[in-house]
């Protein structure tokens, strides 16, 4: 968490260097405060943050929205965000999606932020790689000598990095809006209605299900190994890790076959079916689904002038 915070501060500093010096210090302070808040409240849940996504999706106020429309809406917005190649459109999409997720969906802010930190680290690292250029001569707005080379930040690179970073965040916010408001089985059902081959959906569902089994089995093994001092030194840790991963395979295989037996016992015949609750489709949804992409395109047209 501290790492991602420092990273964010560094990238922001480099991005804005030479552009906005006065606002810079303020921004960094805001960033640090924000991070402190995160450290204090939003932490990853013990069993890994991603596992509870489904729980939050189930609780979201947007859960009953039409999942097929939501899926298309989010994909379209993510596409616009990446395709626009300017900084205003992704910012707008990020704000709109966060508004939908937090204000309408009532997903807890701390959970949303803690989820965002994971892709944020990747995005910030890649932004860092784009901003900093290694050059034989000093150029650009900021230069640091490093041996016989210079680490330089140029205006062009700043713009490029900002564009890529923002469109990535825009796209991520679209995917989070979808996954924090739509339980996985509804997404599968929507895909089924879109005529995706049955086998693919079935596989996706089973993989999703087995993932939980795998994680749980692994967790139990790690606990039991730790209780027998399996991680007391780096060498033992390595050995334990090898053993657990080897055992994980067999244990999971056995559990998977047990699960298959249980499905068979309930007349499973190679086709997974669940009862789907009816989804409502009202004017408010139509308004959101149409207005956000329309506004994004409008912003894009205006910013080109």
């Amino acid at each position: 968490m501290i790492f991602s915070l420092l990273l964010a501060a560094l990238v922001l500093f480099l991005l804005l260097y030479g552009l906005w010096e006065t606002a810079l210090i303020g921004l960094i302070i805001v960033c640090l405060l924000f991070g402190a808040l995160l450290l204090h409240r939003g932490h990853f849940h013990h069993h890994g943050g991603y596992i509870s996504i489904d729980l939050y999706a189930q609780k979201s106020r947007l859960c009953h929205w039409h999942s097929g429309a939501k899926l298309i809406f989010c994909l379209v917005c993510a596409f616009i965000s990446v395709w626009a190649k300017n900084i205003y459109v992704p910012v707008f999409i990020f704000c709109a999606m966060s508004f939908l997720t937090l204000a309408l969906g009532k997903t807890p802010v701390s959970y949303y932020l803690s989820l965002l930190t994971v892709p944020a680290v990747f995005i910030l690292l890649s932004a860092l790689a784009i901003i900093i250029e290694i050059s034989p001569i000093p150029e650009g707005v900021l230069c640091l000598p490093a041996g016989s080379f210079y680490l330089c930040v140029t205006k062009a690179n700043q713009e490029k990095a900002a564009g890529i970073m923002l469109s990535a965040f825009g796209a991520v916010s679209c995917l989070y809006m979808l996954s924090l408001s739509t339980p996985i089985y509804r997404i599968f059902e929507a895909l089924r209605k879109m005529r995706l081959p049955f086998v693919v959906i079935e596989l996706m569902y089973l993989i999703y299900r087995y993932l939980f089994i795998l994680l749980e089995t692994h967790q139990n093994m790690v606990y039991s190994a730790a209780s027998r001092l399996g991680y007391r030194s780096p060498v033992t840790s390595l050995k334990t890790m090898l053993n657990t991963s080897f055992n994980l395979f067999f244990t999971s295989l056995r559990r998977a076959s047990g699960m298959y037996d249980a499905m068979e016992a309930r007349c499973y015949d190679g086709e997974i079916r669940f009862l789907m609750e009816d989804e409502s489709f009202d004017m408010a949804q139509v308004f959101v689904f149409l207005s956000v992409p329309a506004a994004a395109v409008l912003i894009w047209i205006m910013s080109r002038r």
Binding site: I184, G258, M259, M263, I272, R273, F274, L275
Partner: protein, 277 residues
């Protein structure tokens, strides 16, 4: 009484464990409460999986209401709809991503119309007190809730015979009491129940008939009091006697109870003792 399920000379072997079930002959009649006891590896779970057609027996016959069950898909579905299994480990059974969709899995597989599925699901939920949890993903339920959910799963398929594989194995005391109540409710509703268990006191107080398995063989099939009077058999298989049975024997020896007065629970014991002059 009508016979629901009949096993004739049934044999089953796993690749790694031959004779998991040996020459098994068994009749389960409508309305019975059967307890299946025996050590680990005695064949209890294998028996259940065979009764439901998940494991295909190598020799012998399975008959349901006199109809022989072949290996065809339609016969197997016929059997699986009427005989439900509640698995020992709830995590093994849960597949849906919400309580509601989890329960709908069985009825949907029976290809019932949606309205019928919906009414069965809500009925099973209200029977098992799950209605408030209907939107919750199953892996976030507590142990007792998971057990109730796996029972609801099976109830929604409206089976006549329900097999419980060590239902109290992962439950705390409160949930064990809950389960016992559920079992007696289901029995009152006319379901035939078979429960495998290591809780000998529970088997004694609850069952109308006890099956004792040992190394894949059914070595005793009797009423509880008759079974526990066979001392040699019990010591051979390492099964201990229920506490209340032993107390009954002691009190009979002291002349406080008459022969044939075998209290099965604290309530019965009190009733017998209160009736004393």
């Amino acid at each position: 009484m009508d016979t629901l399920l009949e096993l004739k000379n049934l044999n089953f072997s796993y690749d790694e464990q031959p004779n998991a079930l040996k020459n098994l002959n068994l009749k389960i009649k409508k309305g019975e409460r059967l307890a299946v006891i025996g050590n680990n590896g005695a064949g209890k779970t294998t028996l259940f999986l065979c009764c439901n057609g998940v494991l295909q027996h190598q020799k012998g016959k399975i008959l349901y209401e006199g109809k022989e069950i072949s290996r065809s898909r339609s016969d197997l579905n016929f059997l699986r709809q009427r005989v439900g299994i509640v698995f020992q480990d709830a995590n093994q059974q849960l597949i849906g991503s919400s309580v509601e969709s989890e329960i709908s899995f069985g009825p949907m597989n029976l290809r019932l119309p949606k309205g019928e599925v919906r009414s069965r699901v809500s009925k099973a939920m209200s029977l098992m007190n799950l209605t408030e949890l209907r939107k919750r993903p199953p892996h976030y339920l507590s142990g007792g809730e998971k057990k109730r959910l796996t029972i609801a799963d099976v109830l929604a398929m409206l089976p006549e015979l329900i097999l419980f594989d060590e239902p109290t194995a992962f439950l705390d005391m409160q949930n064990t009491d809950m389960l016992e109540k559920v079992l007696s409710d289901l029995h009152e509703k006319g379901k035939t129940l078979v429960v495998s268990t290591h809780d000998i006191d529970f088997a004694y107080r609850w069952a109308s008939r006890i099956l004792l398995f040992h190394k894949g063989e059914l070595i005793a099939d009797d009423t509880p009091s008759a079974l526990f009077s066979r001392g040699e058999l019990l010591s051979e298989t390492g099964v201990r006697r229920p506490t209340f049975y032993e107390m009954g024997v002691i009190l009979q020896r002291k002349g406080l109870l008459e022969r044939g007065q075998n209290p099965r629970s604290l309530e019965e014991m009190k009733r017998f003792l209160d009736a004393l002059p």
